[in-house]
Symmetry: C2
Subunit: 216 residues, 2 copies
Amino acid sequence: MEEKTVNIDIRKDLFGANEDAAALNAAKFKEHGIKVFDIMGSVGTGKTQLIEALCDLIADDHKILMLAGDLATRIDADRVSSHGVDTVQINTGTACHLDARMVKVALNEIPLSDYDVMFIENVGNLICPAGYSLGAMKKVVVVSVTEGPYMVRKHPLTIKRADMIVINKIDLAQALEFDVDALVRDVREVDADIPVLKISAKTGEGVRELAKQLGI
Amino acid sequence: MEEKTVNIDIRKDLFGANEDAAALNAAKFKEHGIKVFDIMGSVGTGKTQLIEALCDLIADDHKILMLAGDLATRIDADRVSSHGVDTVQINTGTACHLDARMVKVALNEIPLSDYDVMFIENVGNLICPAGYSLGAMKKVVVVSVTEGPYMVRKHPLTIKRADMIVINKIDLAQALEFDVDALVRDVREVDADIPVLKISAKTGEGVRELAKQLGI
């Protein structure tokens, strides 16, 4: 037998294994007819409030599951539970993002075909979650006007890997003297075609349009 | 020779190697008489503005170096440069934190004994930087009232590994109906003794006290 050397790039291999697991998750979600959205963004960007607003909007005619990722606590899952939505909390300990296998394990005993829609709220972090697909239909990155004007320019890869950008807390833009249109232009510099939605999960502005664009 | 098996925990080994490099950095900083502060916190928490405010306060009698960590751009270094401070920007590409070796390499040709104080602004991320010492005298975690009320409870390890907590943007607390004292109590739950300072880098409130506590 010819001798063979295989060079393994650990980092690449880790990502590869995750992509495989994500593809299996995606196939399972499709089989059970559940629309899954991976909601990413930094700490305090309003991901939970956004999910709460979407749940209130569609709960009458959709059965919803929410999966929350945090290092510790089940604060976010509890908030969404209070809207009558079934929730699963994943506590990652020190891990700075969810990965496809965590999602698989967390959903192990959940009857997915009972649900129409699942929102996965990723760990609050604008960097790491973008590198790990979970098998969701869409990756939605939430940024907000309270994070300063540079977060898009500083995180081009996160924008590139997303399917949709949501700019949240637009109700605070004037008070914080934040230029939302300049932020939209920053997104356009990175990706000319990605949908960008301006919303306020707090006041509800733009939430109906967001649900429409998500196809729910 | 007796056969020997060594089990290597890659993750542990990576952290161990970083701790060794951090200890070497710390020894070098001490040798050159430079006080080094690792400023950590999420995106948009006001780390750069805090460093700018500290620079303005102490620039008359301190020679300052600023080292900025970001995935991309040199926006933060440029902002601090405009205050007459020497700066070095590290672009990490995809890495979600600085590590001790990046700092060592970045400082390779810098005459450290020319400086009294160095501020290292870590990558904007409340999770990953806390796991990697850089050799700084103090690790300062900056949180702000725009990040929602749960960021301390969700990140106990980051708080535990810090030497000081700075609550920034207190000028916005009232408008955002943010309970700063509740946040201080959350910090106290995790660490009863850690110094907690309430400041506004924008208005300057509390910045003099912060400098005093940092010993600069």
